[in-house]
């Protein structure tokens, strides 16, 4: 293989990966309602004591952050904005490094990770990476 064709192959493969990662990052993934609230796949029912704030009457946005996490600040801004826009939505930012048991129990693998809880504290959506504001709002709308 000539050097040029190797470079071309790398660019094509890396582009494929880059596009996949970009589309996957921040995407709100639906947690099956049948397993939501169980400990399957690391999902559980979260209560006020676990996350440190009262659950929202409609939903709760839980963000896991850490040091060296560049998108965490932008994620926080988006979630604070959305929780302010929609009634009954609470927001909490949890430091992953200070809550390792919770991180392990919920299978949090990177930061930021955003969990959307329903009114009883079941995890209904998960997103890892910076979510888009419209996706967060849509997720809240789809909860019922």
């Amino acid at each position: 293989m000539t050097g040029v064709s190797i470079v071309l192959a790398i660019v094509i493969l890396a582009t494929a990966f880059g596009l996949w990662h970009r589309s996957n990052s921040g995407r709100m993934k639906t947690v099956d309602i049948r397993t939501a609230g169980t400990t399957e796949h690391g999902d559980a029912i979260l209560d006020a004591q676990t996350i440190g704030v009262d659950l929202g009457t409609r939903a709760t946005l839980v963000q896991f952050s850490s040091a060296f996490c560049q998108p965490c600040r932008a994620t926080r801004q988006i979630l604070i904005e959305v929780s302010g826009m929609v009634d009954g939505v609470a927001y909490v930012d949890i430091d992953a490094e200070a809550n390792l048991d919770l991180v392990r129990a919920l299978d949090i693998r990177r930061t930021p990770t955003v969990l959307v809880l329903d009114e009883v504290g079941r995890i209904r959506r998960r997103a890892s990476g910076l979510p888009r504001k419209v996706d967060v709002i849509a997720a809240l709308g789809q909860l019922d």
Partner: protein, 151 residues
């Protein structure tokens, strides 16, 4: 677009700097790969190894491509929207250094194929950084941090 009020320091940097450096690195490594085995290729790899070493062992402020960014690019573009921690991209420089230093050693010992593979990986990482703002070395850094905490 609101810009940050945070001041750039050695620990908090404009995220576009490493990305700009990644673009230059992409070109350098691509040419080095195409000219692999020739003196030109080896010179380019030696140059890139020095660049990575400065960034990894001295600091990002000593990295030549970062210097070009700060001196010529940053003054001509808008102020950064936000800053990022310097530690992950600095670690990425170390990862790049390891791969390209390994490639140079392989060339010296006659293993051009192995050297090509090593440079190809470094090129892929640099390209991902420049084109998609995905820093592979940073992800390794964060993964290592996570494992050290939860391990």
């Amino acid at each position: 677009m609101t810009t940050t009020t945070e001041v750039c320091t050695r620990e908090r940097i404009d995220p576009r700097g490493p990305r700009f450096g990644g673009a230059i690195t992409t070109v350098v490594l691509a040419v080095a790969l195409i000219t692999m085995g020739t003196p030109v290729g080896s010179v380019l790899l030696t140059w890139q190894v020095i660049v990575f070493a400065l960034g990894a062992f001295v600091g990002l402020w000593a990295q030549p491509y970062g210097w070009v960014f700060r001196a010529f690019v940053a003054p001509r573009i808008s102020a950064p929207v936000e800053l990022e921690a310097a530690a992950p991209p600095r670690f990425a420089q170390l990862v790049g250094f390891c791969f390209v230093a390994f490639a140079l050693a392989a060339i010296f010992l006659g293993g051009t194929l192995i050297a090509t593979v090593a440079v190809a990986i470094a090129l892929a990482a640099a390209f991902l950084n420049a084109a998609f703002n995905f820093c592979l070395g940073c992800e390794v850094f964060l993964l290592a941090k996570r494992l050290s905490f939860s391990g």
